[in-house]
Amino acid sequence: MEKIIVCIKGVPKPGSIKVDPETHTLKRESMELILNPNDRPALEMALRLKNTYNTEVVVISMGPPNVIPLLKYTYALGADQIILLSDRAFAGSDTLATSYVLAKAIEKLSPFSLVLMGLKSIDGETAQVPPETASLLGIPSLTNVKDLFMERGKWIAIREMDYGEEEIEVTPPIVASVSPLAFDYIRPPSLKRLLEVKTKEPLICQVKDLNLDPQRLGLQGSPTQVIEVFEKKIETKGLVLEGSPEELVEKLIEILKDKGLIKF
């Protein structure tokens, strides 16, 4: 089996989000980043496949240099190689521009059997990048995959649909986004590798290393543009009651009776 590539994303720690009022994009440089929680199952799946099929796991991430600690963390989990795709020209990329950069980087890592990503990031929440990247690579994609194994040189995937579960056979290479609920247990980093990673730095790739078309990067390469960002203002509109639980429950029951939800 050829190598497995996992794409991860640094997302702002919930609560630490700042929007640049000029460009309407996230100020990623100033934010505290955490590993996108939905990427954990993708990493876990890759590492389990690594154990089963004795293959190499390469983790890549597109983002500013403060993603480096997250990449190092994935090394401590068991990744063999870590790569940061970082260039000022990437700033403001939408899903199309992001998928373009990822596709080019993945292409450069050929041959590979599998690309895994989390279902969606918790910040952008589009879930678009995995299928869009696959589309640009011209290879099949599957979303919401909860199990994946190999049979006679083909991937067998179990994916969740709105209607049930499908078992699909597909020739590698493919891109798969992993269901957030795929695993009950997700491994912690190993102590040995945590020590090892202290001296380990990711390979850093810029525009010039990836033969990228500058027209397709960043804000300029992003057809979708945010024209306005606003915070939703909320004003108190109803009755606010304080009191002992007994008093509050009494009031609640009164309302529920009034609404015809309880009949006595």
């Binding site: 969606k120 919401n144 579960e165 109803g238």
Partner: protein, 335 residues
């Protein structure tokens, strides 16, 4: 049976909506998205067309819904190979239709299929794609799309500079409306040399054992958030739901915690609801959640925090520990 039309004869610059069929059934979310798109199409003086890929006509169970729909036309592509959803082949078929009919817009419901398919189509066409849009308007002849974003209380308005303008539209964000005129139905005939081939083979399908939740149409909803503190307390909502004839809803964090299955998530990432009565226990009300329930007729919030957004939008807010109040309520109701 109905008019057959070649790719090159398709009318141009329309607004296309993806009509999701799965084993002969039309997903109602495809009818939902027609409601805002009809208004957009009328404002821009364009036709609204529902595009569906199906294995055969015999299996179609929803003719009545199709005939009543807001679409001006329905375009079918019918081929045995389209019986299962396979994203590579489906993408190629849709890309062909786009190349020939040069639509102004192409919109998908944010179902699992829509969210797998739309990015592939957008990628192949190298055009922009907005996600989870829950409001659409036309301003200066331009389609402006809004979506809650960054998982916080921020709303972004977006445009797409490429044509077709593409987006996935949030489930439940719009109600289904019916049209006055039956749409004309056409079957698109693909050229002889089109290769109906996919790299995917569906080996087995296991339908969901659970019945789909009735959240989006429920009249009463009792929902819980992290303020309920643990799974055991959250589970008590099911007892309450039973007593009130309600459905149980949840916020995103508690679904991710595994307190309840993701089908019960209300909000941007889940379903949009508009019950007559909504009771939120221990839900602070991040925009992520409130976007999906703010149109409820009567909102009751139970929360310790007087400043919580849900407390502010509620018609009635009870300030106290949600878990305690839930338990006491159950005790009093079962007396």
């Amino acid at each position: 049976m109905f008019e057959k039309i070649k790719l090159e004869d398709l009318s141009k610059e329309n607004i296309l909506a993806y009509g999701e069929f799965y084993k002969g059934e039309l997903n109602s979310s495809s009818l939902e998205i027609l409601s805002p798109l009809k208004e957009i199409a009328q404002t821009l003086n364009k036709k609204l067309i529902l595009v569906s890929l199906i294995g055969s006509l015999e299996n179609i169970k929803d003719w009545e819904e199709i005939k009543k729909s807001l679409a001006d036309e329905v375009w079918f592509v019918i081929n045995e190979e389209l019986k299962d959803f396979r994203e590579d082949l489906y993408t190629e078929v849709l890309v062909k239709i786009v190349k020939f009919s040069q639509p102004y817009g192409f919109f998908f419901p944010a179902t699992k299929i829509g969210m797998s398919l739309a990015p592939r189509v957008a990628g192949a066409l190298q055009v922009g794609l907005c996600a989870h849009v829950n409001n659409l308007e036309v301003k200066d002849n331009q389609i402006i799309m809004a979506r809650p974003t960054y998982g916080e209380n921020i709303i972004a308005k977006l445009i797409s500079k490429s044509i077709p303008i593409m987006a996935t539209i949030s489930l439940g964000a719009f109600g289904i409306k019916y049209g006055e005129k039956e749409p004309s139905i056409k079957e698109i005939i693909f050229p002889e040399d089109f290769v109906w081939k996919s790299k995917l083979k569906i080996r087995r399908f296991a339908p969901s054992k659970k019945k789909p939740t009735k959240l989006s149409t429920a009249k009463v909803i009792v929902a819980g958030g992290r303020g309920l503190k643990n799974k055991e307390t959250f589970q008590k909502l099911f007892e309450l739901a039973n007593l009130l004839g309600a459905e149980v809803g949840a916020t995103r964090p508690v679904c991710y915690e595994g307190w309840v299955e993701e089908e019960r998530m209300i909000g941007i990432s889940g379903v949009t609801v508009r019950p007559k009565v909504y009771i939120g226990f221990g839900i602070s009300g991040a925009l992520q959640h409130t976007v999906g329930m703010e149109n409820s007729e009567f909102i009751i919030a139970v929360n310790t925090d007087k400043e919580a957004p849900l407390v502010k939008i509620a018609n009635l807010a009870l300030i106290g520990d949600a878990g305690k109040i839930l338990e006491l309520l159950l005790k009093n109701l079962s007396k």
